[in-house]
Every structure is written in structure tokens, then in C-alpha cells.
Subunit: 278 residues, 2 copies
Amino acid sequence: MKINGIWQHSIVVNADSTITVLDQRNLPHQLTFHRIARWQDAAMAIKEMVVRGAPLIGAVGAYGLAMALQDGEELESTLQALLRTRPTAVNLAWALNRVHQAVRHLPAAQQASHAWHTANTIAQEDIAINSMIGDNGLEILKTFHMKQPEKPIQILTHCNAGWLATLDWGTALAPIYKAFDAGIPVHVWVDETRPRLQGANLTCWELAQHGVPHTLITDNTGGHLMQRGMVDICVVGADRVTRNGDACNKIGTYLKALAANAHNVPFYIDGKRAGYSY
Amino acid sequence: MKINGIWQHSIVVNADSTITVLDQRNLPHQLTFHRIARWQDAAMAIKEMVVRGAPLIGAVGAYGLAMALQDGEELESTLQALLRTRPTAVNLAWALNRVHQAVRHLPAAQQASHAWHTANTIAQEDIAINSMIGDNGLEILKTFHMKQPEKPIQILTHCNAGWLATLDWGTALAPIYKAFDAGIPVHVWVDETRPRLQGANLTCWELAQHGVPHTLITDNTGGHLMQRGMVDICVVGADRVTRNGDACNKIGTYLKALAANAHNVPFYIDGKRAGYSY
């Protein structure tokens, strides 16, 4: 998505086998970049929340493991150290294990380049997957648009499941970006998302950078808005989704889901509608 | 209730026909007092939220009108000016109109002393009413205590409906103080209450001053706690209660009420149980 009008990804791979990420701790007040040159830098960036968002953490972890191999570090112990940096982000373990699987039977001399290749693949796949979430979600938003073509679609979101949490597009926000880019009027109610304020600091910032109309609200406000018919659809991300469709997400999501249920507001988790089986 | 171990009311009437209130804008960081000597001071204190909470605002307004009459101000115009300081607090209009009714047919020379008397009566009645809310609510809390005498009763509250909002005892918190003073183990989950943080700044402070065990939580947390069976009862205040039992209260109360309903947690508004007719 765009930063200062220029289309960018949240990870830039540099020619010297390092990566550059946005330092999300300083948003929205300062736009600063953070260079990751060694696996320890990647571990620190995840632990200290320079980067956050499960898909982004996964990719940064994968690049970190590639850097470790490049520097001749021992594979298994570095893998374990990186796994410990954020036990709750399922994508981290998934991405690290994928790199591990790809290289563990290779001769040492080939491991680093294959690890880099795998990390790049993870990053590229994330962009493609999120774009597809966006395309699928766009079809859903079009149905709302057709019902009320004159009025913006009122969308409520919690926390940040936008492009800052991923390599590009985001998950929950991908359909919103696709709709906005397609000229469909949208307006996003952004929960500030206590205790860490990812909605206020990150979601508002990235929507503003891309030009998407939005309003910051306290986490207490959504129920009142739904009661008054001011929300057409809720869209949030997820830390985990079980096979039967249950989802875990940032604290507070549940209160919004109960309110959506009470007022027949459709509630989507990363492009899937809650209450329906898949 | 207690401040620094000493039992106090939230308004102190001084010998020189002034009143002293706690400056609630500085809590919990500084305990400072604010002297109100003229009706303009009372108007400022309400407008600037030196005092807040409907019963306290009502009493301060009543004393303000008494001060105006003492200073020879014109009754009707001062009444109107004080009414405008906080249009949403129903107690303010009620208290001001009560003073107005009590004095408007009296000779000018007698108005000030009768207005002071009425303001004092309003203040004393508030203490008595809240104490009775406390006694009634105590009986309800005893039934919870009897079911699980070993464990503290887990009570969730939103915003501040404690003694800082009244002359003493509070409304929603009165039963909790009565239970605590009676030796019944209680623990209060205090919603921080965005956007103005009355829970974090005021409710936690007054509970701590009185020694009542409590934990500050973000407004997002209550749903999760109820889902996990960690809340026995919700108790909140109200800005207004309609004859059929509907209540208006601080933004966010509704989300907690929906969660309580979903998990069969009894929800009380100023001592009355939601969903029941009275």
C-alpha cells in the first residue's frame, strides 16, 4: 500500500542481504525505518514489537533464520531462539519451520541461499494470499454497495489487521483497500484497541496514508453505533481460526461480536463470516 | 468514605458560607481541594469537571444558587446560567429547581438562608439515599457470599458511580462499601472507561483509599472475563433510568450488558437489576 503516496511493501530486501522494516513503535508520530542485518536483530525486532502482526513476524523470522545461516550460526539452536521471541504468533513457528524443513537436509554451503529463497517465497506468497483475501472480500463489499450505492459502506474494525501486519494489503483490511481502489465509497470505524492502541496508532495511520476515510473511536463506542444502525459490517483479523470456525483475536473482539450478533451486523474474520461453517 | 484513613464527605461546608470540594481533575495523582465562594465558582467547577457525577453536581449547583442569593444576585438569571453548565446531568436541574421552588415566593431578605438550608438538605438526603442503596445492595451481595463463602465476590463496574460522584457512599459502589465494611470478601474489576478514564482515575483511587481490593482492566477485558466465569455480578450507575427500567449510562455500558446477558451474569444499575420491572 502507499506511504507518502508511494506504493511500498512492509519489508524491503536490500542488495547486501539485509532487510529494512518500518519501526512500528514510532507510528503514527514518526516514520522511521529499521535495518535488520543479523538474526539477533530479527529476534530483537520481534520481541520489542518493532514489527508485529503475525504474517509480518513470520516473514521477519524467516529472514532472520536465513541471516543466521549466512553467518554460519548453528541451525537448531537459532531456530529455537527465534521461536521463543513471540510464542503467540502462529505464523512465526510456521515460517521458521518451513525454512528449517527446506534446508535441514542440505549441505551447509547451500543452506543460506535456500533459506533466503524460502523467506522470499513466504513474503511473496503473503502478498498474493492477502490480495486474494481482498478480491474475495471485495465481492462481499460490492453486495453492500449495490444495496445503498449513494452511501459509504460503514465498516467497523478492531486492532490492526492491515498491511502493516503483513507484507502488503493486510488481511481484514485487504477488502477495504480493494473496494477503495475500485471507487466504492467506504468509511471505517477504527477501534482504538486498548491496551496497546494498535487501532489508533497503526490502522488509522495506514488508512490515512492510503487515503481511506475513517474515524477513530474508543473501544466502548461500537455497541452504541451498532445499536443505532451506523455499522454495516464488522471485519477483524485473527490470531488463530479453528477448523470449526471459532477465532481468537485481540482482546475486545468478543464484545464487538456479541453486539454485532445482537444487531444482525455481519461479522467477518479475515474474510470469513462468523457463524457460518467452512 | 475514607481519604487517607479519615472519613470524609465530598463537599465540606465551611463556616464562612463557602464550600470545599475535591478537585477531581487531579486524581489520582494529586489530592487537591477547591474552594467555591461565589456562584461563578460553582458554575466553573461544574463546567470544567472539577466536580462530576450527577448527585455531586446537583448539590454543588444548589450551593452555588444559595451563594448567588447571598451575594444579592438576581434569582432567575442565575438559575438559568447554572442550568446551562451541564445540560446532561438531570440532578443539576432537579436540585436547582428545588432551591428555586423553596425560595421564589419568599421576601428577598429570607431567600439566601432558605436556599442554604435547601442545599444542605439536598446534600444530607443524598448521603441517606446512597446509604440505603448500599443497605439494599448489601442484601443482594450477601446472597452471592452465601453461595461461595470462601471466595471473594467478583464485581465488575464501569465508569465512576462511587462516593466521588455523590456526597458519600456512591450509588453503584455503595453496596460494595457496605459489604466490605461488613467483612464480606469482594474484588472489583474496574473498567478504565475511555475516553475520560473515570474508572482508572477515580474508581480505582476511591476504592484504594477505602482499602477495597480491585483490579484495573481495559474496557475490552470484561467480555473475556465473563466468558471465563470470572465475574459474578455487574454493577453500574446511570445517567437516567426510565419508568420501564431502561437506563442510559456512560458509553460502553451497553457492551458489558450484552456480555452479561450472554453469560447469565446479573447486571444491576444503581441497585436495580436489569431485565426486571419495578
